[in-house]
Symmetry: C2
Subunit: 322 residues, 2 copies
């Protein structure tokens, strides 16, 4: 059975995992542990727990439990003391408090949610993502970088404070995989943080797995303003220290009302400037359904998403040719 | 298999169920749904859910899941937005929000905690407990009555506002039981509220089950000040409208340091004034272990408890003679 490992943590990873789990493959995900915004950020500070948000989304994406359990883990309280907190985040936080170690947490959540595949935190150590912009400004905290949307200069350097070591199981998984899927996801807050963990880039350089990058559909304000496909690829390769093997680029239509929404947020479709590079695979990958953002919706952060079936089909077709 | 049904909701019920679950009996509990204090009270008001606290304690008491799950459901957050909230209460509240109905909630919690026996809310309708004192004062809300410890006059009348109907399954359970165990528990905030639900006292009058009352060890300020055993029995029989069949009274020693703690809270050992009543069974039933109250301890509300094994032994021995 072919071994595919997804790297990420946010909405894009949720979509990718939801699609891939339908196929008979050995599926795993290496999860970003730098989230510091919203409910996750508050729980980190107030309870001293590891960030639960991305872990929770991955578990739900891979869950084969009845729909009720998936709804429960995505439920967000709308009133009172618990307002804005996600139940799944609270579950993971309380479980961390009563468990012997984080492996026990993962095992217990996997059991409850009947998870198909491996969910591997990229690290078990606590750290904060930092970004130094070309303007000289340094912002600390993934949540703050994510919200720093008025920043016009590019990110010169992303780093972790303090530096942390990779989860050994994540490193082993990278070395044993046939394919590593990077993205889609916010380049500097979901993808690159994984590569900053000591041991991850090294493993990606060493592995025989094919590295597949799924390029985002839209730019992100304050993070990838005006980025073309080549900018995404160049930044990513710089942090990995190795060339990507395949680059998946959406080449179909995007619903004009969706594009309009993004333009009003100073964001636009990522321009495909990469030309006839033999590594590029161009396909219609976008889900043009208009997503109405809702507080309790796990996917509220982006209104345009990859289509989970089209993306999974493309990845599985690709691995079959290897 | 003999059918025993416990009625209550607080610490005393937790102790009784923990003991009885070790025996091969058909065990059930009819749970008070009037709690309005602490974490439960805040969740009721802020989220509009049914009170989760007593339900949660009963599920944990009857759980045969690994210790981790029991610890998780009793875990109380000590910091931040979630401070003072119990994880089990949050679990029940979120589950109620995403479930079709409350039966689905009960089924799901029972599945997770691998519950032995039936947990039956006395009602599925929302209501508040009210107490009218001989002084003329009326206090609304179980939590407020519980905290009204400076009240010196007796409770003249307890009632529910609004009146609510019994859960049909609870009524059926009463009618089919061989023994109904009432108490131990706070007379006016844990026990009598159950009897105020339309249909419960009627079922208790009609059933062929033996009614066994486990008398509290200590009085409770503002609720049973100066109550002897006969006062407890008289008040209880007045609300049921039927004579009790057996009355279990502790007759052993109570550790003097524990008595001292209660005296400093204007509470004392319940005086056994009931004489040679043939319904009375006198046994050493107290657990003289000194319990250190701790915020995250499910049993923090009373430092003296019945011994769960001694109490269960007494009840099972009694049912064997019927």
């Amino acid at each position: 059975m072919k071994k595919i490992t997804v790297m990420g943590g946010g909405t894009g990873t949720f979509v990718t995992l939801s699609g891939l789990k339908q196929y008979p493959i050995d599926l795993g995900v290496i999860v970003n542990m730098m989230d510091s915004g919203g409910s996750t950020g508050r729980l980190r500070v107030q309870l001293g727990v590891l960030p639960p948000g991305d872990i929770r989304q991955c578990f739900v994406a891979l869950s084969e439990a009845p729909e009720l359990w998936r709804k429960l883990f995505l439920y967000r309280f709308e009133n009172g003391d618990l307002e804005g907190h996600n139940f799944g985040n609270i579950f993971l936080s309380a479980l961390e408090k009563v468990s012997e170690n984080y492996d026990e947490v993962l095992k217990t959540v996997g059991y409850v949610l009947k998870t198909k595949g491996s969910v591997l935190p990229v690290t078990y150590e606590k750290t904060q993502l930092c970004a130094e912009y070309e303007s000289g400004v340094v912002v600390q905290g993934e949540g703050n970088i994510d919200e720093n949307i008025s920043e016009k200069s590019r990110i010169k350097k992303a780093f972790l404070e303090p530096s942390v070591s990779a989860n050994k199981n994540a490193v082993d998984r990278i070395l044993e995989s046939d394919m590593i899927v990077i993205g889609p996801g916010d380049l500097y807050t979901s993808i690159i943080p994984l590569l900053l963990v000591d041991g991850i880039a090294e493993a990606l350089k060493k592995t025989h797995a094919k590295l597949v990058y799924v390029v985002n559909l839209m730019t992100k304000s304050g993070q990838t303003n005006g980025y073309n496909v080549s900018d995404h690829v160049n930044d990513l390769e710089r942090y990995i220290g190795r060339k990507l093997d395949y680059i998946l680029v959406h080449n179909g239509k995007i619903e004009s009302s969706i594009v309009k929404w993004y333009v009003s947020h100073h964001e636009q479709q990522v321009n495909d400037d990469i030309g006839s590079d033999s590594r590029v695979i161009r396909l219609g990958l976008a889900d043009n359904t208009i997503v109405t953002a809702h507080k309790s919706d796990a996917l509220a952060r982006s209104i345009l998403r990859h289509d989970s079936k089209k993306l999974a089909d493309a990845l599985v077709n690709l691995i079959d040719t290897l």
